[in-house]
């Protein structure tokens, strides 16, 4: 009996040594990322230009690349094909019934175009463009939006000098923006209104998918 107890105690003891509860802080997991490794993946770009690679490209160069690699979806002048995004025009439409949100009319920062193209474009062939090609494409997009002359050039050096027209068109989330219980009290539960009429019907529009198309 005593032997059994000793063995049991010994097991508990060694288990405690092998598996001490891990505390917060350094768990000793992972390995240090080298600057070379970080450079492979860290391709984001901020409005202040942080993250921009060395490079340059002209409107003329950009037009050529755009026609070859982008126009099949976005149109030769950034007008958009089918449901693909429109990239140019749309100025003075944001407060209308049909706002057209483009780089020129809506986007606040040009850096988002570089960051996005570098991550995701061309659609289906991402991360295939060289920095010079991205600068050139964006130069062409600025030209299409009347924000650069046709003999213009975009580079790491002059990138942040191009400000987009709608930069000041954004403000931080003010919600909640409808009355809460603290503001208007408990909602009505009985005899809350006199008359109810149907004013809109989905079937009038008739765009719901039917059948099993998959």
């Amino acid at each position: 009996m005593s032997r059994f107890r000793n063995t049991a105690l010994g097991l508990v003891f060694s288990a405690a040594l092998l598996a001490a509860p891990a505390l917060a802080g350094d768990l000793g997991l992972g390995r240090v990322a080298t600057p070379e490794e970080i450079a492979v993946w860290d391709i984001d770009v901020r409005p202040d230009g942080k993250g921009l690679p060395e490079g340059r490209g002209t409107v003329a160069e950009g037009e050529e690349i755009f026609i070859e690699k982008c126009a099949m979806c976005h149109g030769e002048f950034g007008e958009g094909v089918g449901r693909y995004p429109v990239l140019a025009g749309g100025q003075d439409t944001l407060d209308t019934e049909n706002p057209v949100k483009t780089i020129g009319s809506y986007w606040p920062y040009l850096s988002a175009a570089f960051d996005y193209i570098r991550h995701a474009m061309p659609f289906g062939e991402p991360q295939s463009l060289k920095p010079d090609e991205i600068y050139a494409i964006i130069a062409y997009l600025l030209y299409l939006n009347d924000l650069m002359d046709e003999d213009g050039e975009l580079s790491k050096e002059n990138f942040t000098s191009f400000r987009l027209p709608n930069e000041n068109g954004f403000f931080d989330d003010p919600r909640p923006d409808t009355p809460t219980i603290a503001e208007k009290g408990e909602p009505c539960m009985k005899n809350c209104k006199q008359e109810v009429k149907i004013v809109k019907r989905a079937r009038v529009i008739d765009v719901t998918p039917e059948g099993e198309e998959e």
């Binding site: 984001d44 960051d115 659609f123 909640p176 109810v196």
Partner: protein, 416 residues
Amino acid sequence: MTITGRRGFLKGSLAAMGGGLAAAATGGTARAAGDIKVNEWMKTLGEGVVSRPYGLPSEYESHVRRRWVEWLTATRESSVSFTPIQDLDGIVTPNGLCFERHHGGIAEVDPSEYRLMINGLVEKPLIFTLDDLKRMPRVNRFYFLECAANSGMEWRGAQLNGCQYTHGMIHCLQYTGVALKTVLEQAGIRPNGKWILAEGGDASGLDRSIPIEKALDDCMLAFAMNGEALRPEQGYPVRLVVPGWEGNMWIKWIRRIEVGDEPWHTREETSKYTDLMEDGRSRRFTWIMDAKSVVTSPSPQAPLKYKGVNVLSGLAWSGRGKVKRVDVTFDGGRNWVEAELAPPVLSRCLTRFHVNFEWDGRPLLIQSRCIDETGYIQPTKDELRAVRGTNSIYHNNGIQTWHVMASGEVENVEIS
């Protein structure tokens, strides 16, 4: 019309429905003579164990599936499918039915090659394997995930006939993973680290800025959903979990987190996922998904089949906390009853609600209204339009109306 509210069986007619309604015809659903027999499956052996190593639903449930709206997007690789919430019950969404939103198709990641990089304003930039993450202290939490564009097609008026389409960009799962805080602490955040950028490892490399307070508060890196590995459609092997905030921030196939001193203002948080107001200005960083609810049955894809006893079933949720109460009206908002909340009621989770009622065959105008623990009241669509106009696309949490016709069919409508 008889309704069972939260406080018991409330018998009696609703005055606004037109006075004392006669009791509806009642009866069971299996009344046909000859339906009791010895069926085929009672007379033959079925398939043995492991004939279905990974079980799938009965073939009679094949209508329960994700669906998409073809005209909505240019390609299926950058598109959305919808959860069939009209066919589900409880609060946990089955893994294969969770709605999808991809920007560059479904990445098929080899877990042995999976790496997560932490860089930027940290003491020590680090790279983790999937096994490294699985050796860290583990967290299990239930959360809903709603796309900011859920109900976005309904801003200008009733458009799609089915809650799968109007409200199906949502799911609710149990996530298993590690606290993002644990991972960031391994690298050590520098004092000027105020934001993180989370970046996907798919063909879109979707990236979003998140304030450091949220990252350290309750965000998770999840590697399991409902007890099994993440599905590829949901970011296998690791996705970010950002409780209560819009789904676009829950980066799938996450490959990198950078710590910075300012937000990045990426395409997904400027050109998209910003809310355009009537005056042409836009709200940005609209992260929280406000309190919302929808009746899933009856609904256009789940018509009323029987007069007499029926169960109204629905879902409510709030990105600000727990659902406190759900009110339901059958008469277009003239009178409301408090729905029964089916436990558990968890913070930033779907909450299931029910109302037992008797239907006499007259048309109904059904709505639900969610109130959360912060006192936020789900607004009507017109209340939202009065503040935001009709161009904002995102964050439409307005009250949904279903018109139940005398035939039992249900349509998506708006009412005065």
